[in-house]
Amino acid sequence: MLDDFALGAFVVTWLAAGIRLAGPLLLAALGEIYAERSGVLNVGIEGTILLGALGAYLVTYATGSPWLGVFGAVAAGVISNLFLAWMYVTVMANQVVVGVVFNIFALGLASYFYRIVLGTSGNPELIPMIGSISIPGLSDLPILGPILFSQSALFYVSIAIVLIAEFVLLRTRFGLNVRAVGENPRAAANAGISVVGIRYICVLLSGAGAGAAGGYLVLAQIGLFRDTMVVGQGFIALAIVIFGRWRPIYAALAAFAFGATDALQLSLQLFSFDVAPQLLLSLPYVFTVIAVSGLIGKTAQPAALMEPYRDR
């Protein structure tokens, strides 16, 4: 069996990887929380993550600055979601259908532009990444140091965003408006709130979050772009939102749980345990199904989720 040292090393590798993997999921989920809290189920975040990744890669490739790349990722997310918001809110098309089709569109667009920019050589160039920051003092702590305090700079930014998102949603007037629009849009409109305006803002926020998530993948995890790099992260983010009961802080915990499960199968392989990794990977989804199934009490789902609002 493992001795203490190996066990310690295993846990540290596992949890550090889990947190690294959780970063993009978390950012996408935070944006999605705002969209869903306002009553819009934005399934299009899967495609938005891919476009964000493309944006991050292209901007960084052109400028050499990964921080400008983050900006490019967010911009790509916001611009593409402006179209989604128009479809969801103004055209009032079926939100699920729009999202699903948009994901196919984004996949086509991303691989098309990728081919144009990089030609057919097939070997993407590495771009500069955002480095890790070791927080002086804290990073030397045993176990916790390497897990929590030697992460990419983007990770710390994400944590700050979680706290801000939680505060804004629950403690500010804007957050109150968002929640009211998602629970009872007619009541919100009658109180003088612009349902359309709030929903546009929230869909754009989810675009920003998903775009940033794509940037995170490129700039803090991989360092290059492939059109096959986003495989289900958007849908995992949807699961995280449900599992986190539509609250940023809980969603952060859920994201770490999902990241940790993902990392567990990697680490187990690394340490050659004999557990079927696929079954492990499916666990978060099984738990999500249970969370949203109504088996364990009422879900916290916003009452007007997926319902278009027709004013006048």
Binding site: L41, V43, M87, T90, V91, M92, A93, N94, V96, V97, V98, V100, V101, F102, N103, I104, F105, L107, G108, L109, S111, Y112, R115, I116, T120, V196, D227, G232, F235, L238, A239, I242, A276, Q278, L279, L281, S282, Y285, V286, T288, V289, V292, S293, G294, L295, T299, Q301, M306, R312
Partner: protein
Amino acid sequence: MFNLFERRLAPLDSPSVVVTSTLGSILLALAIGAFLFIPFGANPLLAYVSLFESSLGSLRGFAMTLNRAAPLILVALGTCVAWRAGFGFLGFEGCMTIGAAAAAWFALVGVGEAGQGIILPALLFWPAMLAVAFAAGGVWAGSVGVLRTRYGGNEVLISLMMNYVAIFLVQYLVSGPMRAAGNLPQTDRFPTESWLPMIIPGTRAHAGILIAVGAAFLVWLLISRMRVGFELIVTGLSPLAARYSGIDVGRRYLLAAVGAGGLGALAGLVEVLGTQHRLMDGLSGGLGFIGIVVALLAKLNPLLIVPVAILYAALSVGADALQRSAGVPSSIIFILQSLIVLFVMASDFIRYWKPRLPRFGAATAREERTDA
């Protein structure tokens, strides 16, 4: 935007407007798509011609188109059954995967050499095969139906999540219990008796299209001729009215879920027995979502689904050929296909809103007054 447009008193819903706006959307999508060919030095018009020439112009190409259309039709029919009943099922990727796994299992045990499995005569084998796959998908999707009707779960989100459970389950099967000797996570090649028979000599067209067209006829019969189908539609249009008129709404949802899952599973069967002949990871390849798109373009009409799916399949077969011959990335086709659907949906905007013409001489609106 709200100053430029105003809502129509009643939406334009005459058939001619719907047809015009749909055709207009398709043309617009093709026109925008034309620009995508230019960076690759292809003449857009010629590109479109060769796109359809390679997929519809030759028997060989047409056979490939049919093979690709078959699973699309089945998924689209599943969408039709579920969505007409108001059951927002999105789990076709999962159903295909599960159906493929069930078909693979049955192919491996159902017609093995003597001593290796149960041997069935061909006459019984195919009905049993279809039933096994349908049942597997039906149970898989039916569980979503149970969660919705018994516990009030949200079927959209549950079915989305179940896709991943199915995909990982099959990954596990092909890398564990069902894995063949060798480096790749996949099963043994199925015995040739279990391959879908070829239907056009000299081509690779298999019987999948027959299964799909047969299913389309049955779904049409269900929806427009049968009492149960009518009950499904009433349930989808107004669950309250359905309950009031004595329809057991829960059972109808369940029926829709099982039907949709079964049809999705048949799509998986067609893929695995017709094309791949062995079970491996990543089999659905997004077909479970594209099929939904096909169903929507066909306005959830089971008979319209067949031609729409064939056109859709023709586009993607043609794009593959174009990539091989001219180096134009086949991803263009994803853009084209999704643009068509998005534009068709967006064209509703014109049906509900009209441009606001400036009205001269009207009193200018004022919005002040804030004293209280």
